[in-house]
Amino acid sequence: MRLSSLLGASVLLLGACGSADSAGVEQPATETTQESSGTTAVSPGPDNSGEGVTLTLVTHDSFAVSDGVFEAFTRETGIGVEVVSAGDAGEVVARAILSAGKPEGDVLFGVDNTFLQRALDADIFEVYRSEFLASIPDELELDQEWRALPIDYGDVCVNYILEGGLAPTSLDQLATPDFASQFVTMNPESSSPGFAFLLATIATYGEDGWQDYWRKLTNGGVTITAGWSEAYFGEFVQGGGDKTIVTSYATSPVAEVLFADPAVATSPTGVLTEGCFRQIEFAGILKGTEHPFEAEKLLDFMLDETFQADIPLNMFVFPANSEVELPTEFTDHAVQVDSPLFLDPAEIEANRSRWTEEWTEIVLR
């Protein structure tokens, strides 16, 4: 084929692309161009006398923030913020470790206590002892060297349907056949709440006792799914399945009310407040950033009230800053867990593979 003919064919193909565009896909495409003004990517405006730096905040895909929050930061400091969210928390940490030294951004948010040690071991964070840590409860500050600063926390708890199902009152009871056969939870290897629930059983029954607990659950007929969505929307009655008990969060009832259709006054689901594992999410300045000073300001902002108050209804977790007032939806429908379970991040990291492998042997043999 000659060059001229190839070019001819290419031109025609372009023409075809053009005509297909105008014929079938025009309308939504124009809609998108109308709305191009940003919510999460905020560049410093020309009237700002700030540095003109735009920071990149690397985070997981569950990150959400209201319109105007980062704009407030930009107005205050002249520093823009671009949010780059990709993958779940595990992926974010793996990417940060693999690209250590040539980071994708300046600040990373979304490492939780189950991955904290892994991030610290890989030495991806700069030390920054923010003065705003004064408003953060000490028990959330797991990193004593202030590389990873706590931003929010939440509890992974067993949820159940209030009407038409049994309400478990303890982890022990959950493992009896009547309850276990109604219980759906997730594979700890592929699901973050699934792993948290496994950690809850390890924290409760100890290094030598949790295996027996899972044998009971398995013999009782527990159902395992790959992820939370398949459990909640596929197997749990609220999503159309037939199981009445599911591993979820202490804040899930808030979403049940907020996103109910038709509207409801109270959540149709309840929370077992025993055996809840606490997840704390951290942020840190990525080593290799060209803007460490601006990154510190962003961390300050994320610990301060404006950002902290915006967290609950966007990410359905509790703000780390104890001075922030919770929205009424939270005070009304979220369940306060009085004695959440913890495990040392170093212990989690050291045993993660062994625990999940043992779990697989016991449950999916």
């Binding site: 084929m1 060059l3 064919a9 990709a86 790959a226 969505s229 999503g239 109910a260």
Partner: protein, 541 residues
């Protein structure tokens, strides 16, 4: 063979062109596939001894994973062909009401999010085994559902363009229909069946969501294990060795398939405007009825249940889930409808680039000798290696000019996945062009441009559109690689929105997620129909 050593025989200009058509895809695949793959393998294996690599590759667990990955993909492909070919046949040969609609709708399963489809399939395949794990049939069923479009559309499109006069002649000479099919039609279809079968195999070979959601953790494949070792366990060396195994298998398969396809390629002469058979007589009616019934079960029922769920509002039915799509939801960085717009833009870009690069690559493959084979094999690599491997590769390779942060990365990543579909559709058509026709036209004084316009273009235009339609479909539905390279709200596509909507409790979110899936499906069917509609009246010049 002379074909493989063109330099001496070709005129200078011709040589340049055959090189030009090969240079474009080589540069593209080099930058978008080989470079990132090289980067991630080098980073993961640097300082790892050969002994360790051999140890990982020969572990009994690796062998087990490899075996399961292989046989489930092979069986999925076989089943997909078994179900797809009869459907392709009736669409290619019979005239009946709803024919073009079925052809358009067939592409829909291809773009539906795994999480959403798994819910539909979950109810078909009850949880029975240990801890509620499903049987392997759930995996196979889902693979057939997702991939049957590849066979139906690519084989069907080619089949429809086949000149029927040979079969007619055979029938006049007393051959029974089965005889005529086996001796005359099938040999001419082998190339395109192999090509589309290979695509189905690669999709099943690297399927992630289906295995994870329907298969359960005991049914690990290379793809799920690469993810597990790279992301959950940070054992990058193990992940890299598994990725290498994946890569070798893909390249070998691509080369074997290409060899077969070449040896089966033959000139087809001119293609008359396809004549579709009227459905008359009990035999034909029965045949059509059976295959339509099969289509209904495989494609219609799951889609129907999905539409049904999208219309459920509270205790009744309504369009609320659809109208809610324009409302902002706090969980999403942008509204669902804007995500849809972004997906459309990406799909458009991906389809156009895949079409153009694919056209150049197809010419290069058919005429380009050894380099053509390299392109043919390399083009399949993005489908055959895992999204994690490529995604981490982009992360490491594209630090130059910070390309890893460009939103162009998303449509370009989609484009390299769409390219094999353009090739699977166009290459067999281009190979089937009878060289005597070209020579005759040339002898009669037609300019090269005119030859392309009158001889080659009519034969490859429709396959090109089918391929571009697939590229658009991939872009609209792709989740794995997108979730890895997406850069936030400006590259927040519809599949990401669906996934995110299903990340919190609430009927409102679930309803929107399912409605959005249906909308994506309808749009993709529309794109496929539009791209293929203007069949008559469009000429090259």
């Amino acid at each position: 063979m002379d074909r493989d050593r063109p330099a001496l025989i070709m005129s200078g200009r011709k040589y340049l062109v055959s090189n030009f058509s090969i240079v474009v895809p080589i540069v593209f695949l080099g930058v978008m596939v080989l470079w990132p793959l090289g980067a991630v393998l080098q980073r993961s294996l640097s300082g790892v001894g050969v002994q360790r690599v051999v140890e990982i590759a020969t572990r009994s667990s690796t062998r087990g994973i490899l075996w399961f990955t292989f046989w489930q993909a092979a069986l999925s492909t076989l089943l997909t062909l078994l179900i797809g070919l009869p459907i392709a046949h009736i669409l290619a040969r019979y005239r009946f009401v709803g024919r073009s609609m079925i052809r358009s709708i067939a592409v829909v399963p291809f773009v539906l999010p795994t999480v959403v489809v798994a819910a539909a399939f979950g109810s078909l395949f009850e949880r029975t085994g240990v801890a509620g794990q499903r049987t392997v049939w759930a995996i196979l069923g889902a693979h057939v559902f997702f991939n049957v479009a590849v066979v139906v559309r690519i084989v069907g499109g080619y089949w429809q363009g086949l000149d029927r006069s040979l079969e007619d002649a055979a029938s006049v000479l007393g051959a029974r229909p089965t005889q005529a099919f086996l001796r005359i039609t099938l040999p001419r279809l082998v190339g395109v069946i192999l090509g589309s079968g290979l695509l189905v195999f690669l999709f099943s070979f690297t399927s992630f969501g289906v295995i994870l959601i329907l298969g359960g953790p005991r049914r690990a494949t290379l793809e799920t294990e690469i993810y597990r070792y790279a992301i959950s366990r940070l054992e990058f060396d193990v992940a890299a060795v598994l990725a290498l195994i994946q890569l070798v298998i893909v390249v070998v398969l691509a080369m074997v398939s290409a060899r077969f396809q070449r040896s089966y390629a033959r000139g087809e002469g001119s293609r008359a405007k396809p004549r579709l058979l009227a459905v008359t007589g009990l035999r034909r009616r029965l045949h059509l009825g059976l295959v339509l019934g099969l289509t209904l079960v495989v494609i219609g029922l799951p889609l129907g249940s999905l539409i049904d769920r999208s219309l459920q509002v509270g205790d009744g039915y309504g369009l609320d889930n659809y109208s809610n799509l324009t409302e902002p939801v706090g969980l999403l960085p942008t509204s669902a409808i804007r995500a849809l717009g972004i997906s459309l833009e990406f799909a458009f870009v991906a389809a156009c680039i895949a079409g153009l690069v694919g056209l150049a690559a197809a010419v290069g493959i058919v005429r380009g000798g050894r380099l053509g084979r390299v392109v043919e094999a390399a083009s399949l690599v993005p489908l055959g290696v895992s999204a994690v491997t490529l995604g981490l590769g982009y992360l490491l390779a594209f630090t130059v000019m910070d390309f890893r942060r460009s939103i162009w990365l998303v449509p370009l990543a989609h484009e390299v996945m769409g390219l094999p579909f353009v090739l699977a559709a166009v290459v067999p058509a281009l190979r089937s062009v009878d060289s005597r026709l070209r020579d005759a036209a040339s002898a009669l004084g037609a300019s090269p441009t005119r030859i392309v316009a009158t001889v080659e273009w009519p034969l490859i235009r429709k396959p090109l559109m089918t391929g571009a339609g697939f590229a658009a479909a991939i872009s609209m539905g792709e989740f794995g690689a997108t979730s890895f390279v997406s850069r936030g709200k400006d590259s927040f596509t519809a599949p990401l929105a669906i996934f995110r909507l299903l990340s919190q409790p609430g009927d409102l979110l679930r309803g929107q997620a399912i409605a959005l899936s249906v909308v994506v499906g309808v749009i993709v069917a529309g794109i496929a129909a539009t791209l293929e509609r203007q069949r008559d009246g469009v000429t090259l010049l």
